[in-house]
């Protein structure tokens, strides 16, 4: 024993909620689902890409389809009313979870990327000009980087990047230099999906607000694994995805201050978001529906709220402690292995992920060999190509942890990395 005794909750009973963790791998990957050829235990360490879905969330989704499937905000009939209430209350649950004032401040989107694009189009395209600038960091995910880069091209606004230091943290002096009185938006990743760095969002938000800039937090890698309160962070916008926190794909949330969202024009037009339509003109529905045009992802929204309930029950402080325990342990063991280059800050100062390369082994080869040992990791640039350019590598392998991962699974990762290293030696 040892490290296991520090688990903040009963990991084995959590694992019982995730039947997928019991399956094996190794058979034909061209047909989905387990088969007889699968003979290797699955070790799933790709949670920063997507997490698995616990039974209560699967049940919430299937319960909707089995017993009250209907479109929302359309019919007067009972099923539609039941679906509408559940879908609206899902907004309330998400709002409460992140400390928002209410459902008016929580727009359901497809994912974090769509939330980013919503602000970029609804606000950025209308408000930015050649004299303005938007400040990002070098560790932004493409969701933010590409979006603001392209909005910059359309509006003439300068897009700046706060530099990342050698230890994988933001250069605060550079932040101070780049955020100025022409800065209209600071769009910053909270926890880096590549480096694991936890950025000081509240400090930088305060700095940006001194210059009357808005602050957008990309919280895709932080809301799932640590307590988040939008008021404490003092951000104007914040986005995250359901599928990285035990929820289904196809659903995410954009938080925005009500007054700001109220003043913004819709990003998508159509049904659901209107109040009164004539051939000549239209008026908009109240928040948040003004930004949810068309039939929304109803089952996913309901599943999202169930996922929030699930992780909230586990306790976000305990999830943070568990991820930190595993990331720190993985960092130490991979370092001890030798020939492993790990990116980002030290083990106890990072989110629950470790990106690395093994000397002499290309990241894609490493990932293939790990997969053969049943270990699922991400290989590639993790949607941070410019950051990888800065790191001087084309790709890296990333192991990322969640509530159901164990110390033994980290050991399996390390054993597989050793096998890959020996194969290429």
């Amino acid at each position: 024993m040892g490290v296991q005794e520090q688990y903040p909750f009963d990991v084995e009973s959590i694992r019982d909620d995730f039947p997928i963790l019991e399956r094996s791998v190794g058979g034909d990957p061209t047909t989905p689902g387990a088969d007889e050829a699968d003979d290797t235990d699955l070790v799933y360490l790709d949670n920063a890409a997507t997490t698995h879905t616990p039974e209560p969330v699967v049940e919430a989704i299937s319960d909707y389809y089995r017993s009250y499937n209907s479109n929302v905000h359309r019919g007067i009939h009972q099923l539609s009313q039941e679906a509408s209430v559940a879908y609206e209350e899902a907004h309330d649950r998400v709002a409460e979870f992140i400390g928002a004032e209410g459902r008016e401040e929580v727009i359901f989107t497809k994912n974090t990327t769509e939330a980013m694009n919503l602000i970029a189009y609804a606000w950025g395209l209308n408000e930015l000009g050649p004299e303005d600038n938007v400040v990002l960091s070098e560790m932004e995910h493409h969701a933010s980087l590409v979006t603001w880069q392209q909005i910059g091209k359309k509006t003439g606004a300068d897009v700046r990047f706060i530099e990342v230091t050698g230890d994988g943290t933001l250069d605060m002096a550079d932040a101070d230099a780049k955020i100025d009185d022409d800065t209209e938006m600071l769009s910053l990743v909270h926890v880096s999906n590549t480096l694991g760095t936890v950025n000081p969002i509240a400090d930088l938000a305060a700095l940006a607000h001194e210059h009357d800039a808005f602050v957008f937090a990309d919280a895709a890698q932080s809301v799932p694994n640590r307590p988040i309160d939008v008021a404490a962070l003092d951000v104007d916008f914040l986005a995250f995805s359901g599928h990285k926190m035990c929820g289904p794909t196809g659903i995410g949330a954009l938080y925005g201050r009500e007054a700001l969202l109220d003043a913004m024009e819709p990003y998508l037009y159509g049904g659901e978001m209107i109040r009164r339509v004539t051939f000549e003109d239209s008026t908009w529905e109240d928040l948040p529906w003004k930004f949810e045009a068309g039939t929304p992802s109803i089952a996913q929204g309901i599943g999202f709220a169930a996922a929030v309930e699930y992780v909230d029950d586990l306790g976000l402080d305990r999830i943070e402690a568990h991820e930190s325990l595993l990331a720190s342990y993985a960092h130490d063991r991979l370092t001890d292995l030798g020939g492993v280059e790990i990116y980002g800050p030290p083990g106890d100062e990072r989110g629950g992920l470790v990106a690395f390369n093994v000397e002499g082994v290309h990241a894609h080869d490493l990932s293939s060999i790990l997969s053969d040992h049943g270990v699922a990791v991400r290989a590639g640039d993790h949607c941070t190509q410019p950051l990888h350019d800065e790191l001087g590598v084309a790709a890296s392998v990333r192991a990322s942890f969640y509530v159901y991962n164990t110390v033994e699974e980290v050991d399996a990762l390390v054993d597989a990395v050793r096998a890959a290293r020996d194969l290429f030696a």
Binding site: G26, D39, I369, D372, H373, A394
Partner: protein
């Protein structure tokens, strides 16, 4: 064990660690560079032809990438010797996996065929069939 360990049989590792025909040729008849942006693999292929302007005399390859792409390019460089440009043009994905002698997992096929694609596009440019400015990029 699944496809992964099969992919890294001795022959692949040997070609990766000791690549054949590695380097750039002096005065090649055609040269082409291609990349697979999703993994950062880049391969350059240089080819010289016999006086008939058809038969491949020598091949040099260089670049940076994973074991599958580099070993595949190395094996291809040996295979191409003495082939005609028409023969090269007819090489398909099955020919490449057959040459490698291992089953390539679906996500790695793009790695395996990069060298072949670069050589074929180089030959097509040489024959004036495609624009020299066309880039060889494989998504995947």
């Amino acid at each position: 064990m699944g496809l992964g360990s099969d992919m890294y049989r001795q022959q692949i590792l040997d070609h990766y660690k000791n690549p054949r025909n590695h380097g750039e040729l002096e005065d090649p008849d055609f040269t082409h560079v291609g990349e697979n942006p999703s993994c950062g693999d880049t391969i350059r292929v240089d080819v010289t032809l016999n006086d008939d302007d058809e038969t491949i005399e020598s091949v040099g390859f260089s670049g940076d990438g994973c074991a599958i792409s580099m070993a595949s390019a190395s094996m291809l460089s040996e295979r191409l010797h003495g082939m005609t440009v028409d023969d090269l043009d007819e090489l398909d994905t099955d020919d490449v996996t057959e040459m490698l002698g291992v089953e390539i997992s679906p996500m790695r096929i793009k790695c395996a065929v990069l060298g072949r694609q670069v050589a074929q596009d180089g030959a097509r440019i040489h024959r004036g069939e495609i624009d020299p400015d066309d880039e060889t990029t494989l998504e995947g």
